[in-house]
Symmetry: C2
Subunit: 115 residues, 2 copies
Amino acid sequence: MLNQSTDLDRMFHALSDPGRRAMLDRLVRGPASVKDLAEPLAMSLPAVLQHLQVLEVGGLVTSQKIGRVRTCSLRPDALRAAEAWLSDRRGIWESRFDRLGQFLSEQDDQSGDRS
Amino acid sequence: MLNQSTDLDRMFHALSDPGRRAMLDRLVRGPASVKDLAEPLAMSLPAVLQHLQVLEVGGLVTSQKIGRVRTCSLRPDALRAAEAWLSDRRGIWESRFDRLGQFLSEQDDQSGDRS
């Protein structure tokens, strides 16, 4: 539970920066080198490497250095885990309103029976 | 775009703390006072108020003080926006694999035709 919670902390923290989200936007389209990631973002390589580290710690990205090129890839399971966490909460919230709707509709029926 | 990005920054930042996520877990079940939120978390009232402020800035929670009681409620639209952002990325990622699968299957068919 503690580890799972820490994973969510790191993942949501990784998602809380527009530069890191832009890097993910690129990586959902396929693996990319650090240079490829940096170019459209007008970011320095050290800045990209720093963001990359946060994305890796957040479990969202993995990278591998072959020769002089570091290639980054998305880890889609982390995106799915964050989405599942949010979807579970939305489910609880919506079922609460479904139950409220059902209760009000039953009240209507009962007052209809009485009238 | 800038505002939307800032909204996502603040929302994901708000979600990156286990105490704040525990407060949301309580609020998906219905509105609660600050005291109700603090009790099961073994958190001081000032700590809860501080987290509450981050949740409010993140657009996830709204609160209203009537008399001496501040009541907090979930704003489900923000949860939906975060979920939609993640779901869009997953969609792009998965359609990439669908296209790859289709391509490989077409290659198989063509090599089958030739054999």
